[in-house]
Each structure stands twice: as C-alpha cells, then as structure tokens.
Symmetry: C2
Subunit: 212 residues, 2 copies
DNA sequence: CGGGACTTTGACTTCGTTCAACCATAGTGG
DNA sequence: CCACTATGGTTGAACGAAGTCAAAGTCCCG
C-alpha cells in the first residue's frame, strides 16, 4: 500500500489505460469524468475522503473514466490483485464491495434522471443537495457556511450545463432565497426548501444501509 | 425459484417498496425507469434475456427504480437471501456479481455522458448502437432488419428527449442514410458509420471481459 | 502593481419543446 | 366485412430554455 499526493487538477487515474492498482481517497475532493469526441466534459461522480475511486480495476479491464482531483488530494493505492484475493477469501469484503458497487450504480441512475429529465434550476438544486450531503460526511461547519470547492465550470460539467448558465441559475436560487452565496461559500437557510426545489431524496445514496 | 409471466407494460419490480426477491429475465425485453416529481420518465437501462434485473435487492434496501416490461416477458425469481448465501459461500458467485454490478455502473456513466453532453442526433445514434448490440446477443437477423421494440416515446424516455424530437432525429439519420426504417424495423447499411455518428465504443459494456 | 483564473452580465442564436392537427395501422365488435 | 377506436407515427408553426459570444468585473497571489 502506497500513499501518493496530488495537486488540484491532477489525474489520479486515467481512462483507457489498464490499471493494476486500486485507490482510496484519503484526503481532499475528487471527481470521475468522461469526455465526448468533441472534448466536452461530463463529471459522473463526486468523491471525498474514504471513497473507493476505482475498485472496478480489480474486476474489469480498462477503466472507462478519468479520476481528477479538484483540490490537493492524497490517495492510497493497493494492488488490484490484493483486492481480488481479499474478496475471494473474505466474504465480508466481497459483500462490502458489492454494496459499494450497487450504491454507485444507484447514484448514477439518479444522475441520469437529473440530466435527462429535469430543468437546469432543479438539476442544480439537486446537485447542491448531494454535494452538501457528501461534504457534510466530513462534519458540518459551525457557521453553516459550506465551501463550494468546485468552480462554476465544474458544476456545469456535473450538471450538463454551461458555466454561464450555472451562474444564472445560482443567481436564481439566490433570489428565491434557497441559498446564500458569499464568494466561494454558500449557506442554506432552509435545507428542506432546497431539497424540495431539487426533488432531492438522499435515499438513492444508500448511506450505511444494507440487507442482513 | 419461480417463473412469472408479464405482459407488455407490466411492472416486474417497483421503486420504493422493499423487495426480498431477485429476478433474472428469461424471455422478452425490459427496462428500468425512474420518475421525476412531475411524472417525467427516464429509462436508465435496457435488459434482455439473461440479464439480472435487480440483484441489488440482495444487498441494498428499497430499490430506487421500477422495472417494466416492454413486451411480453418471463422472469425467474429467487429469494434475495439465497443470493446472499451463495455470494457468501462461493467466491466465484460473488465475483460474477461484482463484475455485473461494476459493468452496470460503467454503462450508467456512458449514459450520463450521453444525456449531459451530446446533442440529440448523436445521443440517438449512440442509443441505437447500444440497443442493436444488446439485441444482437440474441442473434442477428438474416435479413439485417432489426425490430425496434421500443416506441418513439420510449426511445425519448431513454435518451432524454420528446417523442416528437425522436421522430425528427430518426428522419435525420435516415436522410443521412445512417439507418433505413421500414415500419417497426430498421436496418443499418454501415454499422461503423452509425457508431461514428453516435461516438459509440462498446468498450464500456465490458462484454465477457474481466481481470484474472 | 500586474496577471491569471473565475464570475458576472447582456445581446443574440439555436436546439429542442410544445401544441395541434393529421395520418397509418391494427384490433374489436356488430 | 366494415365502421369504430386506440395507439403510435408524422408534420408544421410558434415558443422558450439553454447555449454562445463578448466584454467587464472581481479576487487572489506573486
């Protein structure tokens, strides 16, 4: 097991090149992304400390996505073969890998619904809810001000819109007093109102949930 | 293990209600779908004979999607607890469940890219490629005419557009001679041209692929 | 103080939706 | 056998949400 540091914007893993190693994010914030033929970017998931970034490397061939740090990060790497061996020897490990893989798929489905069938305002509100939930796992700030660690461009890449439109929709949510923005920080006066605007129900994240 | 038959449009499984059983599709064609608050539908995956429809029921709580037959179907049901037991006792079973779960997630990511960052024409071409690949697993028709088993409305629900626009884009693909439409059947004069138009690379399906 | 990255704003364009009408086909019952 | 209905496909015109382009504005950091 090796630790490696990355600075903002670095690739922690790359699409297309077979990788014989799996990574867990131990510090910082990272995303998975894919590119279209014309170079447009789609962010397909958000990751904080503790998240497995690419355990599929232990079971599938070449990865289908890039992993990119959004701020300075530390990740710890383990041989894919070690993960495979562990999964084969310890049913509990296999089980927790399964839970995490199914949860990833579930989150992906919610994102598909978001991208395919909701308008920009709802989509953005939904994204903010998931983002806040995710970074809240690392503790709520005392003053209720969450740092928005993604640029508006990156938020656009996650929600399928342009940076300009993200800006306008953030403004719209602000005039509705669903969020308050102070530079790179936002606070949410009424979380339930924002969840409502984003049709957000965190059930799909399957947090600490599982069957006997 | 029980067999059950469904007619077109039936729910094989439903979102939100905890299910203690897992299903494999044995005949027909089905989709998974999710609904927005306003009732708009998003189809999130396609399934043919042999596909596991909801093995996540064995490891997660309530399902996050509906499963609906698109034509007459037969599915075979197994107790979720039996799947759990098998996965715990037989590493090879756990491993194949993992491969299938990771593959599902991979496909979902490609759909996200499609929905979020590609225009209607490319999106539709991509969808057709995946659809044809999927039904080709059941054998190619001798005359090269594939039955389009989804209505234009359903194709729209899968690609995030309206039925009207699906119609127009199908027409567009036809005038480009990327496809030929004859009623409910289509043929593809040059598969590579269509794949190119849809930026389609089936790698993400991870067909019969895996790591040692 | 200057430069770079990010945000904000406005004017204009475009892609896809909406609405409405019409057509085609297949199934049903008299 | 034929009217009758239902479902799905086709087409056009008008509209609107989001994209594009371009110019300022802000903030941070060296």
């Amino acid at each position: 097991m090796t630790l490696r540091s990355f600075s903002s914007g670095d690739f922690i893993g790359r699409e297309g090149r077979s990788a014989s190693t799996c990574a867990v994010l131990t510090r910082g914030f990272a995303v998975r992304q894919k590119l279209t033929g014309s170079g447009d970017r789609q962010i397909v998931s958000l990751h904080g400390p503790g998240d497995a970034l690419n355990f599929q490397n232990a079971f599938l061939g070449v990865p289908d996505y890039d992993i990119r740090s959004v701020e300075d990060c530390v990740a710890s790497f383990v041989d894919a073969s070690a993960i495979r061996a562990l999964a084969a020897e310890r049913p509990a490990v296999a089980r927790s890998l399964l839970i995490s893989a199914f949860t990833e798929a579930s989150t992906a489905r919610e994102w598909m619904l978001n991208l395919g069938r909701r308008n920009a305002r709802t989509r953005l509100a939904h994204f903010l809810c998931e983002y806040l939930d995710r970074i809240s796992l690392q503790g709520h700030p005392a003053d209720g001000k969450y740092e928005l660690r993604l640029s508006q461009e990156q938020i656009g890449d996650a929600t399928g819109m342009t940076a300009v439109h993200v800006n306008r929709m953030l403004k719209a949510l602000q005039t509705e007093t669903l969020i308050k923005q102070l530079g790179r920080f936002i606070s949410v006066p009424n979380m339930y109102a924002l969840m409502d605007a984003g049709e957000y129900n965190p059930r799909y994240l399957h947090l600490q949930e599982s069957n006997a």
